[in-house]
């Protein structure tokens, strides 16, 4: 009996080593990235398509913007991804550059008894008060005031937010700070804040999962998550006083206001934009790379991938209701690559 066990384990071990060696012989470079969960549904589809075309493997770990920044600073990945852009000082200090890859909308999602998708209306102040813990039940007067024609359940609100360092949180809290002076003073806006209330989900995935699971919950996710999982989203009152639904049209309307040319290091906040059709919680997601690349081949492959995403990825982006970067911004980014990124002193793009 034991001889069989020993023999089979040795056999298994040898098979593994052989398999490993075999696989090691295959082609296709691997690029390692980590960070924002905001664009993950899109990045994973882009990477899948690109792998089918070129064989390049993109290993993207969706661990949150905070994680992306930390890993690229520790140089454990080839690029980081974050929806919270770095300020110029931090960038020059660390030797990184950043560029916006795609834009999207952050959407409140709910799981409340008897309310259908797209039925509930909220405004910035009410949303902030829910997240401050001041409004604790769905049938609160403030929510009733905005939703005269909806039958609100007598249910406690279970607030869900992020437990990790998140660019989506950065965008969301910037919005809350813009519309609620109390939020701005008490909590502020950042990738991770001292949340007054709420259960913490890990990543956009975790927040979506919690909202699906917990009765009476409210959370905020990038729209692709609400779309792919058929979640119950809300309508928000924008700056111009209109209630808008989260759609690619309203995200595009908000993004149209973005003045990329005058943004130092592409640092821009896109929340609470003017415009009748603008979705109030919009943002961009960024890729972070080192100016000085250690490995020219990896750098060239990386930029090749990002270039392809700009030129061939629009359809997939729009399919998930993301907003592709406008052409003029893409040209600015390509110029940045050409002028700023070096490997061993030599430019690697184009």
């Amino acid at each position: 009996m034991f001889r069989t066990i020993i023999n089979s384990s040795i056999a298994a071990g040898l098979i593994m080593l052989l398999a490993g060696a075999n696989i090691a012989a295959d082609s296709g470079m691997t690029i390692n990235g980590a960070g924002a969960t905001f664009p993950y549904p899109l990045y994973s589809q882009w990477a899948y398509k690109y792998n089918q075309i070129t064989g390049m493997k993109l290993n993207y770990q969706s661990i949150g913007s905070g994680g992306g920044i930390q890993q690229i600073k520790a140089k454990t990945v080839d690029f980081g991804a974050s929806d919270a852009p770095l300020k110029s000082a931090e960038m020059s200090e660390s030797g990184l550059i950043q560029f916006p890859m795609v834009m999207g909308g952050v959407v409140p999602v709910i799981n409340a008894k008897g309310i259908a998708a797209g039925q509930l209306k909220l405004d910035g102040t009410t949303l902030a008060n829910i997240y401050l813990g001041k409004i604790t039940r769905w049938d609160d007067a403030a929510i009733k005031a905005l939703n005269a024609d909806v039958s609100l359940p007598d249910q406690a609100i279970a607030v869900v937010r992020r437990s990790d360092g998140s660019g989506t949180t950065w965008i969301f809290t910037h919005y809350l700070a813009a519309v609620s002076p109390e939020w701005k003073e008490k909590v502020g806006a950042d990738k991770a804040v001292s949340w007054p209330v709420g259960n913490g989900g890990k990543g956009n995935e975790g927040v979506a999962a919690y909202v699906q699971q917990l009765p009476g919950s409210i959370g905020y996710v990038e729209y692709a998550y609400a779309l792919q999982n058929k979640m119950n989203y809300v309508l928000l009152k924008n700056r111009d006083g209109h209630f808008v639904a989260p759609t690619k049209e309203t995200f595009t309307a908000a993004a149209a206001n973005a003045d990329w040319a005058n943004a130092p290091g592409y640092y821009l906040v896109l929340v609470d934009q003017p415009g009748q059709e603008s979705w109030p919680i919009t943002g961009a997601t960024f890729v972070l790379l080192y100016k000085e690349q250690a490995n020219a081949e990896i750098a060239k492959t990386m930029l090749g991938f990002f270039d392809w995403c700009y030129s061939h990825g629009d359809e997939m982006a729009v399919g998930l209701d993301y907003v592709p970067m406008p052409d003029n911004v893409v040209k600015m980014v390509q110029a940045t690559w050409k002028n700023k990124i070096r490997a061993n002193g030599k430019a690697i793009y184009p």
Partner: protein, 283 residues
């Protein structure tokens, strides 16, 4: 003892007996509940795609966990290769050379303590020691963390098993003129081999289900492994990621992976238990 009426004492005793039987049943019921759920939810996910395809992005159907299965097997076997010889030799020292010495007593206590160290602390340790300086998550780091968790378990079972070998065997070997090391390797090991193997297999089973240390060392990957110095896909971190996701097909795959891991661990546990009992009875 109280001198109460016999009837009262007997009734109380019966009550306790019933309570204890019920408690044992509660424990059993919990076990069966968990096993049943994993079987029920995981069985549906274990199809051909699961074992042969790589993961696909959310929104594209037909993905599988072939890379994670290979990855877990690989890291576990590598960890076993790293941890087993070290653990066995350490156990040899404690059982054969160190009996009664102060240093052996200290090492033995430390071994027992290390067995109880949270695996997440081992993960933090290996992160600081290997991942940060090498600037990459890797299969090496993952295997190292699992080997560190395996080590004290193997040491203890080796020491226990070797100590159970009667001295008469050792004396017989020595009296024939064999050097001590030969006696240990060829006689004592042979006598204890059932128990030794059981200990190793149980340790391997245990680390194959570990998640926390791999979170900071091997990370995860969507592709098949092709280098030891890169993040490697594995079942446990995949279960963690997929379970916390909102996607129905990912959650189903998480259950499938859970069934796979739990099935392997249970089979190993039950098989070694049965085999060991058989052998010791046959003796």
């Amino acid at each position: 003892m109280e001198l109460n009426s016999l009837k009262k004492r007997r009734r109380f005793n019966l009550g306790i007996q019933i309570l204890s039987a019920v408690s044992a049943l509660i424990g059993l019921a919990a076990l069966l509940w968990i096993l049943f759920i994993v079987l029920q939810r995981g069985a549906g996910a274990l199809n051909w795609n699961f074992f042969t395809r790589l993961p696909t992005p959310p929104g594209i159907a037909g993905g599988g966990l072939a890379n994670a299965i290979v990855g877990t097997l690989f890291i576990t076997i590598l960890a076993a290769i790293l941890g087993t010889p070290l653990g066995i030799m350490a156990g040899v020292y404690l059982a054969e050379y160190g009996k009664g010495t102060k240093i052996a007593t200290i090492i033995r206590s430390m071994t027992n303590i290390l067995i109880g160290i949270p695996s997440i602390i081992v993960g933090v340790f290996v992160y600081a020691l290997i991942v940060l300086p090498s600037k990459t998550f890797s299969a090496y780091a993952g295997a190292a963390s699992l080997a560190i968790i395996m080590l004290p378990v193997v040491v203890r079972t080796t020491e226990d098993m070797l100590s159970m070998v009667p001295n008469s065997l050792r004396e017989a070997g020595l009296s024939l003129g064999a050097p001590n090391w030969r006696v240990i390797l060829q006689i004592v090991f042979r006598a204890a081999r059932g128990g030794l193997l059981t200990g190793i297999l149980l340790a391997v089973a245990r680390v194959s289900g570990e998640t926390a240390p791999l979170l900071f060392t091997a990370l995860n990957s969507t592709y098949m492994m092709h280098s030891l110095n890169e993040p490697i896909a594995n079942l446990t971190v995949t279960i963690f990621n997929y379970a916390m996701s909102p996607y129905a097909d990912w959650k189903s795959q998480a259950w499938g992976a859970s069934l796979l891991i739990m099935g392997a661990i249970l089979i190993l546990n039950i098989a070694t238990r049965l085999a060991f009992r058989e052998r010791s009875r046959a003796k």
